[in-house]
Symmetry: C2
Subunit: 322 residues, 2 copies
């Protein structure tokens, strides 16, 4: 099953969201407008908006109210992508920092700030302080996740729990919040809100673990970059953590290879050893465990048509090949 | 009259705000907590909170509700200071960019994001969507102001209107918004809200122009850095714009001096010529005109005790020597 097939069932509402995103992003300033629209047109799976819509199917579904939540969450995601790209590591270390790229970095930072503020403004459509509290809290958790990722970079001795805590903050919480806010905006019961939040959280964990697996096993065509990029940048993810734990020699090799010159490190041998260590299978099984937990929450939810789509979407997200 | 004398009249409420700021900034993450508390303890005039408090004197003053608005606005100001310091120009160009400072830059960016989100969360104390709309709009305008400042850097041909538009967005609007939100939180009438907004806007313009004057005439002791720093960094402010307009030779000298090596440029001759051009007196007169407009708005407001303090504060801000 492809994403387009799942999305097909609510294609018209996704179009409403795309239109609203397009209009919302029309900044009053040319530079910011360009930065934002480029990002918007670069595409994306719109996972968070879709989760908002699906969650709202468990309550009173009104696309013209919901779209504000959906757009707000996509904007938060976009802003975080913009800030992720600021002060690119590689660019700096190669010593070819130019005025141009410096300008880009500062502008990117303010573009991210602008998009964050726009997300808050969009959510203010609802006169509901709990929505603001949830959104601001999600942004703060994401910031903590980013700072932890920076702190944990090139830390080869980190605990597996550190990894789970980090991806929870970086990825899973915003998807959990998407589900919860969709339910809140549709006036679903507290019990439904709670289950949808957990559903989103578990799917989000599976989503990130799958991403981290794909970084090792994906082809250039599938992931759009050479495999092993995470490790090269010092981001230690689940497959690598497993492999290093079970093969101390590999750990030594990784530390030496990356420490020497992580930009030009030959990752082939390392990637192969990680694959051979069983780190991929282990990560897939952890991802599947999260998916199973997500399905369990879904089962306990009322029987509405959206359930099937949620099921398909969760399965797609946790088992996708690109 | 000193700032402490003016603040003396509402010292106990300022203490409430300081305490609330201190508690609000206790981030759940050690790195972010440290970044935020360092910034908090570095001090600051707390201009925005004080304007919130004074504006609220024109309505139903309740410090325990107001403090959330006051803290929110100070946090926005703090977050913008944090982001201002990211990717410091000098640091980059001298080619001594280290992992340490890069780490600091990325952490500073996320610390700023965190503080912005905290500001939104703090404002959510009020179940009032117009407060959120005003706050998010102010942040967006500040972002536009920052991007314009980046775009206008080292642009020696910029119009004087560009300068006014820039300082409006960078500084004046947040002070205007502080006044307006204080009035809204105190349920003051629309008319009072409008006048207080304008009052804050005019004082904010005078505030920034005074800052820009001090950058040329202040001593090392007064401004904590060598004079002429703005121009050295390519930020073209009112005194320089006036001087260059009236003395094309000076413009040529400035462009040549700064373009050659702006970090080591000898600013003494340029500063003296700007002083001799009448650029300082002109800027003082523009600042005074804004102050006069501010006083006029104040006059039209109801006679409450706070009026006197507002008057003193505005006069202090527009005529201060440090």
């Amino acid at each position: 099953m492809k994403l387009a097939d799942i999305y097909g069932h609510f294609q018209s509402d996704i179009k409403v969201i795309e239109k609203e995103l397009e209009e919302t992003i029309q900044a009053r300033h040319d530079v910011l407008r360009k930065a934002s629209t480029d990002l918007l047109h670069a595409g994306g799976k719109r996972i968070r908006p879709v989760f908002v819509l699906l969650a709202a199917r468990f309550g009173n579904y009104d696309i013209h109210a919901l779209k504000h939540i959906a757009v707000s969450l996509e904007l938060i995601h976009m802003a975080s992508l913009v800030h992720d790209d600021v002060i690119d590591d590689a660019e700096l270390r190669r010593g070819r920092k130019t005025i141009k790229s410096q300008w880009d970095n500062r502008v990117a930072m303010y573009a991210g700030d602008y998009i964050f503020a726009k997300a808050v403004q969009t959510a203010a459509y609802f006169d509901n302080r709990s929505i603001h509290l949830i959104i601001s809290d999600a942004i703060m958790e994401m910031c903590i996740g980013e700072v932890e990722q920076i702190r944990d970079q090139f830390n080869w001795d980190q605990n597996i729990r550190t990894y789970f805590r980090r991806i929870k903050r970086k990825t899973a919480l915003l998807i959990a919040v998407s589900c919860k806010l969709g339910a809140i905006a549709a006036d679903a019961s507290d019990e439904i809100q709670r289950r949808l939040y957990l559903f989103g959280y578990y799917v989000g964990m599976s989503f990130q673990i799958t991403d981290d697996i794909l970084d090792f096993v994906g082809t250039m065509e599938q992931i759009g970059k050479p495999a092993g990029g995470d490790l090269r940048q010092g981001n230690v993810t689940l497959p690598a953590l497993y492999a290093m734990h079970h093969n101390p020699d590999l750990k030594t090799e990784i530390v030496e290879t990356i420490s020497k010159d992580h930009h030009h490190a030959d990752m082939d041998s390392i990637i192969n050893q990680i694959k051979e260590s069983g780190g991929i299978e282990y990560s897939v099984s952890v991802s599947d465990q999260y998916l199973a937990k997500a399905f369990k929450q879904l089962e306990a939810l009322p029987d509405v048509e959206a359930k099937t789509y949620f099921l398909q979407l969760a399965a797609y997200i946790g088992r996708r090949k690109f």
